[in-house]
Symmetry: C2
């Protein structure tokens, strides 16, 4: 199935206990596409300014990522994010954000993307997520991410969006904020009442959980890696491999969603193993399969 | 195999979002024994003062718990703990502790306990844990719990204890404090270098993880319960069912430790479902088995 992602492309400056990565490639759509492309071709939709110091065509050279939807907007500046990680590295401290081109009109939508079947709307204003979704004629499975800013300030738009999507993927803090529930299983169940038929909560080093409207429930630990260099993009890599796998097999059922989450978890474990996109960019599929098997081995009883 | 637990018996006052339970039965040895007795008879070792408002013989009436080692010390006062839970209920706020009889000499050790094979040393001063252990002639498998207080203030004693035990069970904050490692897999591995051949880290609502000196690794989510009334004793119920199951099957191998952790997780899920010991006291074994099967169902892929 065809898979489209729309999200950010960023110039990131990240500080972790392992060093500083200054002005490196980042952004949700970038991490998502890197991970998803191991499973299915990706249609990329995003916008940068003419100040962007790196060439995305170069970054995606060996990947099956269609960059028709990459708009370089003259006179605009690329989105920038500066953040750091400390302690258990589960949460980023945002030190500076410059929305720049992301605060302007959305990227131009190529006609060749209109027949897309699987869609991932990475975190941005829910009104913009809806506007982007309207460009697609007959989407079959739509997933979205969101964040505290929209839950707090654009709740009505967000609820409207939730009614239009099939799956919401968000982290534990966001799930608690959205539902007012402390218990994450209850929070995930409450999200189903808001529209999506699949609700996935990411818990960083503690893994993820899923409930769906058929009553299925799935609890998955994180991959037990000891190499955590830079957590940036872990959630987007998770969503990327998850959606990439679903688009590849073309069916949404209990075991396909579970396996997709395992591939997502494995992709995240590679993403955090190095700065910027280096961790997720250069993995052989065989190593992804090895970690899939290992995660099964360390969770079965 | 015979199983002995030594730990606290407490008069607890607990406040959670669901109410207040004042002056109720608590203590690590009590929760442990309740959970362990579903699997194997328990030899109980603990001391109370003559002020204790409840009758432990009554509480354990239908349970296979040998109370020969329950000492009621005239003129002494029972241990008291007052605490509360807020927010995600993962951590207790201790409001008041009165060590009372726990600050005096250890309980009298019955001769009939000397041939015990499986031993659990619940959290107390490591020098005391060692002293208690010396009463046992030929222990086959010794597990212990500890806490921040001893890690910070009695580190040498604790390291001496770790060299004498087979398994350490502690929570994530304690594991990080003991090892100086933020990454929990690394922390669990570092604990193996300190002596134990099995290292288990409890993560509350996020489950638990285990590594052992044979290179095995096991990651287990928590049971996905939505009923969390009072988390007190969850960790002790976890350890109780875990050790009870190991004592029952009488062998320590990869699958027995994994299954033991699953039973521990299930016991904890019942313990937190009501105030004091009510949640873990009145469960039929069939309901424990049902949750064991359910946990497998929601984790397999």
């Amino acid at each position: 199935m065809s898979l489209l992602v729309t999200g950010s492309i960023g110039i990131d400056t990240v500080t972790t206990p392992f060093g500083v990565s200054e002005g490196c490639i980042g952004g949700s759509a970038v991490y998502f596409s890197m991970a998803a492309s191991y499973f299915a071709p990706v249609r990329f939709l995003g916008v940068i300014g003419d100040d962007c110091p790196f060439d995305l065509r170069d970054a995606f050279r060996d990947k099956t990522v269609d960059l028709t939807g990459l708009e370089t907007r003259p006179g605009s500046k690329t989105f920038r994010w500066k953040g750091s990680y400390h302690g258990d590295m589960n949460e980023a401290n945002t030190e500076d954000v410059k929305l720049n081109v992301l605060g302007e009109r959305p990227p131009l939508f190529p006609d060749t993307y209109r027949d897309t079947k699987y869609v991932f709307l990475a975190n941005t204003a829910p009104s913009l997520q809806m506007e982007l979704l309207e460009n697609i004629d007959h989407p079959q499975f739509v997933a979205a991410d969101t964040m505290n800013l929209w839950i707090e300030n654009e709740r009505e738009d967000l609820l409207e969006l939730l009614d239009k999507i099939d799956m919401l993927i968000l982290n534990e803090g966001e799930a608690r904020l959205l539902t007012g529930q402390k218990n994450l299983v209850t929070a995930a169940q409450d999200i189903l009442k808001m529209g999506p038929r699949v609700s996935i909560i990411k818990k960083g080093e503690h893994g993820s959980l899923m409930v769906d409207s058929n009553g299925d429930c799935f609890m998955l630990p994180a991959y037990p890696t000891t190499v955590v260099i830079d957590p940036t993009g872990a959630g987007d890599a998770f969503a990327g491999a998850l959606m990439g796998y679903l688009a590849k097999i073309g069916k949404i059922d209990v075991m396909s969603i579970r396996n997709a989450m395992v591939y997502g978890t494995v992709a995240a474990s590679f993403a955090i193993g190095d700065f910027s996109i280096h961790g997720i960019k250069a993995v052989e599929l065989s190593r992804i399969e090895d970690r899939f098997d290992f995660l099964r081995k360390v969770t079965q009883f």
